[in-house]
Every structure is written in C-alpha cells, then in structure tokens.
Amino acid sequence: MNPDPLAPYLPMAVLLLLGGVLAVVISFLASFLGPKKPTLQKATTFEAGSESSGHARQRFAVKFYVVALLFIVFDVEAVFLYPWAVKFRDLGWFGYGEMAVFAATLVVGLAYVWKKGALDWET
C-alpha cells in the first residue's frame, strides 16, 4: 500500500482547528454568559487602586530589543543543529568538525555580546 504523504497532517490539522475553535468558543461563552453592567469605575485602568497617570504607550528599554535580536540569531543556530543532530552518526567526525566551526563562530559572537554588557540586566 502506497502511504499517503498527507496522512500525518490530517489529525494535526483537525487538532489545530479544534484548538482555535475551542479558544473562540470559550471566549464567546465568557462574554455571552456573564452579566453586563458596565460602570465608569470598571472601565478605568486598573493600577491596584491608585489613580492612573500617564498612558501605556510608552517606550521601553532597548535591552528587550537586543534580546529579541539575539534570540533570532541563536534560534537559527539551533535550527541548524536539528538536521545535523539527526544525521550526526552518519556524518561522523567530519560533521562534528563542521558544526564545531559553525558554533565556534557564534560563540565568538556570544562572547562579544557578553563582553559588551548587552546581557547584563543589573544596571
């Protein structure tokens, strides 16, 4: 019997759809079943009882942005590791060396970032 290449995707698609539908249904039920008694007080921004001041469209520390960029770089590195890990035994020591060179370059980058203090959150 010739296997259907789409076979593993059928249950996966069903589950993905079900997850989405369930999330929508639960959210809908939440707004449908509860009472609706809006007051001015309820509509204010909750800041643990204090009067809210200013607005929430503020800029935040650039560190978060650096972390997101570093995350992409190391995520891509990890992505290259997965196929390598699967073929690892066949590739042997040569493959090991290939990946060592690749990772060493990125470790240099990590050391640079570390040295520059982009990973320090204390300050």
Binding site: L10, P11, P35, F64, V86, Y96, M99
Partner: protein, 479 residues
C-alpha cells in the same frame, strides 16, 4: 493511619485504574475511527488523549496545586465547596475539595466579562490575546506518544496512542510553543495599562530567552537516538545499557541516564516558559501585576488553564524523552512473554497490554507534574535580571557544551555506554550537591559548572511567593 491507607488506596488502585481505563478507551476509540476513514486513529486520539486525558489532568492540577501548597504550608487547603441541595449526605459531601473545580469553572464562566476603556481602541487584539495564549498550548500534545503500537481487534489494525507522528516530531513542539509569545505580548500591549505592558514585555522576553535553551537541551537526545520523533525516541529507550543478569533485567537506556544535563536544561527552560514560580516575574500574583491584569472571568481563565496544560505537556514530553515513555525500566519483555504470548492468560487481548503501558506513561507524567508543583511552592521568585542571566549566561553556554561533549562521546563509543557513565556521574554529583549542605537550589544551577553563580542566582528577592489563596478559602481561585 486511616489517612495513609486512603492515600495508598488512591495511589495504587484508583489513579492507575483510571488511567488504565482512559488508555483502553483511547485504543478502542482510535480503532473505531480508523474503521471510519484512513488516518482516523489520530483523530480518535484527539478526543480521548487531548480532550479527555490532558484536559482532565490539567483541570485536576488546578486543585492539586492548591491542595499541595496547603500540605506544604501545614494548611488544609480548599475543602468548602459542596452542593446546597438534595439529601443531607449529598450536602455533606466534600470529596476532598474536588467540587472546587466545577465551582471555579462555573464562576469564571458566569462572571462579568468587561473591557477597560483603554483597551477599546484595540478591541480585536484584546479579545484575540487569550485565544492566542490558549490555542498553541492546547495543540502541543499532538506529537507526544502515550502508548505503544499494538494490533487490535478483528481487522488487526495497528493502533498507537499518538495523535500524529510526522517526520519533524519535536520541531512541531518548538514551533507551536514559540507562538505562545503572542498571547502574552498582545495581552500586555492591548490592555493599555502600564503594568500589563511591562508584564507582557517581560513575559515575552523571558519566553524567547529560554526558547533557545529549550531547543539546545534536546539536541543531545536527538544525537544519541538520531531522530526527532518522540515515538522513535521512546522506543529507542527499551534497549539496555548494561544487562545485569541473563534474564530481562538491566539498566535501561533512558534519557535521564544519558543526558542529565540536557534534562535539566530542558526542564528549567520549559519551566520558565510556563511562567510559574520561580520564573513568575511577569505575572507575580500577589504583588507584581501581570500581563493579564485587565482580563476578567473566563478570558483570564484561558491564560490560567493554558499554564496548567503546559505543565502537563512538559511532563509528558519529559517522560517520553527522558524517562522511557510508557516503558517499564526492565522486565517488560519477560512480562509480555509471561502473560500475552500463545497459551497464556491474556493471549489475544493486546489492548490490555497497551492500556497497562499507557497507564505507566500517565503515572510518570503525574510524578513529573508533582515535581513541578514541588518546585513551584519551594523556590523564592527570581529577580528579572537573574532570570535573564540564567537563560543567557548559564543555560545557553551549558547547552552548547553539552551538545559537543555528547557528540564526542557518541562518536567515540556508539554503544552509548561512555555517555551513560558520564551521565550517571553527573547525576551522582547533582544528588551529592543537593544533599550535602548547600541545599537544592545551588545544585540545580551548578549542573553547568557555573556553580559560583548559583549563590548569586537565588534568594536576593525577599518575596517568597506568598500563597494567594489563603487557607480554606471558599471557591475563588485567585491564582
């Protein structure tokens, strides 16, 4: 004494029995659906494994978390919920607090669902955020195997307890888990609340920081077993590293013996992804305001339940990769030969064997869930800079070192025995560090050889996570 007997009764009979039943039901439902259309087994597994087993365990965890925290703090925990109707014995029934679960669900569903004025300009994103937090977590269980492939019924269909077994296996988990970031960041941003924004950005940044360690932690296991499929990884763990007798007895090639560092990396990183204490800076319930501060009723409930589903899925993935999945540590083949081969008691009833192993899987999952509860109620919260330092300066380098050490040992000795020797040595070192003096926390961080940082990474924060639900609180879950 009576209480101990009660606990033993539950642990030995009721819980394994319930999981035996669920696994058996999963096999037969999958069998039935496979008869309806080709590939139906996976769809059947969705119904029983994801909708029933995972969701039930996650729901029970909401109560178990409160009960266990109570036990650790010498309280009784939630025990008041009861039914105010019917005969006296029903009114007196407490069921150990079990009725708090339906009480919580009903309460959250019927609460007013209101939106702060500031969020109205982004109504769509505000409503979307809890869905984006829940849906990815809900579908994570897709590639996790919960029972062996067995031949079932008159049509002799081959059924395994797994929803889908694609070639990319674990990568599906990484891909879908990475989407949960949108739930937190959008919730924080669209609430138009400074504290929610701060929580949302912190949560997202924390999640992406640990995602790299999450992947790196498992690369070692992919290398040892040359696959990314969880099903194949589980099956690969049946081999013995060393056989101690001529019979079916020895040290199994479980991931925990081969890759203890990988396990710690993955476990710590996945724990940070669930955003539970000690990693709960983005949502600290009692003093810091989290990214979901503006959500009410069941919309908040979606954030909360996704956290518990994550706990279950994390435990299930750890079980499949590091603890042999549904396999017994040893003696499995002997037991099968004793009971299920031609002429033996259960010959021809393969589903009993499958359901038995399925219940083994779920018992391991429960044990790992319990470990997570233990950690969550033991450790004080990390400061945010400590969280980032742990992720980038310890877990990431440790993960890279682990990959290359593992690689060298696997190539040097493909039988994996030297890898296991190193792994067991690391395990012994961790246990020794944990028991001798310094306490568990340093040991948990000392695994990567940066033990010096361990002292730095704990305890500065005086906010030991104060339980939000005080003793004997009635239905409300203020998680």
């Amino acid at each position: 004494m009576k209480r101990i007997l009660m606990v033993l009764f539950w642990m030995v009979l009721v819980i394994p029995g319930a999981f035996f039943g669920i696994s058996a039901a999963a096999y037969w439902v999958a069998y039935f659906f496979e008869g309806l259309f080709r590939g139906g087994a996976g769809v059947g597994n969705i119904l029983v494994l994801v909708l029933a087993a995972v969701m039930i365990v996650a729901t029970l965890l909401t109560l178990a978390e409160r009960k266990w925290s109570a036990a650790m703090q010498d309280r009784v925990g939630p025990n008041r919920a009861h039914i105010e109707a019917g005969p006296t014995f029903i009114q007196k029934m407490r069921l150990g607090g079990l009725l708090h679960i339906p009480a919580d669900v009903l309460k959250m569903l019927w609460k007013e669902d209101f939106m702060p004025a500031g969020a109205r300009s982004n109504r769509f994103l505000f409503n979307l955020a809890p869905m984006l937090a829940f849906a990815p977590v809900f579908v994570l269980f897709c590639v996790v195997p919960a029972g062996p492939m067995i031949t079932l019924g008159e049509q002799a269909r081959k059924i395994a307890l797994i929803v889908s077994n694609p070639d990319f296996g674990l990568l599906y988990v990484f891909a879908i888990a990475s989407l949960a970031v949108y739930g937190t960041s959008l919730a924080g941003w669209s609430s138009n609340n400074k504290f929610a924004l701060l929580g949302g950005v912190r949560a997202s940044s924390q999640m992406i920081s640990y995602e790299v360690a999450l992947g790196l932690g498992l690369v070692g296991m992919m290398m040892t077993f040359s696959t990314v499929r969880l099903f194949d990884m589980t099956e690969a763990q049946t081999q013995y590293l060393w056989k101690f007798t001529d019979g079916d007895f020895g040290l199994p090639a479980w991931g925990i013996f081969l890759q203890p560092v990988g396990f710690l990396l993955f476990f710590a990183a996945a724990f940070a992804e669930t955003k539970r204490a000690p990693f709960d800076v983005p949502e600290g319930e009692s003093e810091i305001i989290g990214y979901f501060v503006e959500y009410s009723g069941m919309r908040f409930g979606l954030f909360m339940i996704s956290e518990f589903v994550e706990v279950v899925v994390l435990a299930a993935i750890c079980t499949a990769i590091f603890f042999g999945g549904w396999h017994l540590p040893f003696g499995e083949k002997a037991l099968y030969a004793e009971l299920f081969t031609q002429g033996k008691v259960f010959y021809g009833h393969q589903w009993i064997w499958g359901a038995f192993l399925g219940s083994i899987f779920w018992l391991k999952v429960l044990a790992l869930c319990w470990v997570q509860l233990l950690i969550r109620w033991t450790f004080p919260r990390f400061r945010y800079d400590q969280i980032q330092t742990l992720g980038w300066k310890m877990l990431l380098p440790a993960g890279l070192v682990n990959v290359f050490v593992t690689g060298a040992l696997v190539l040097w000795d493909p039988s994996l025995r030297w890898l296991a020797v190193l792994g067991i040595a690391v395990l012994v070192a961790i246990v020794a560090l944990a028991t001798l003096g310094t306490g568990g926390e340093e040991a948990a961080h000392a695994h990567d050889g940066h033990g010096g940082h361990g002292a730095d990474a704990h305890g500065h924060d005086a906010h030991a996570s104060v339980p939000a639900h005080v003793s004997g609180a009635i239905a409300p879950s203020t998680h």
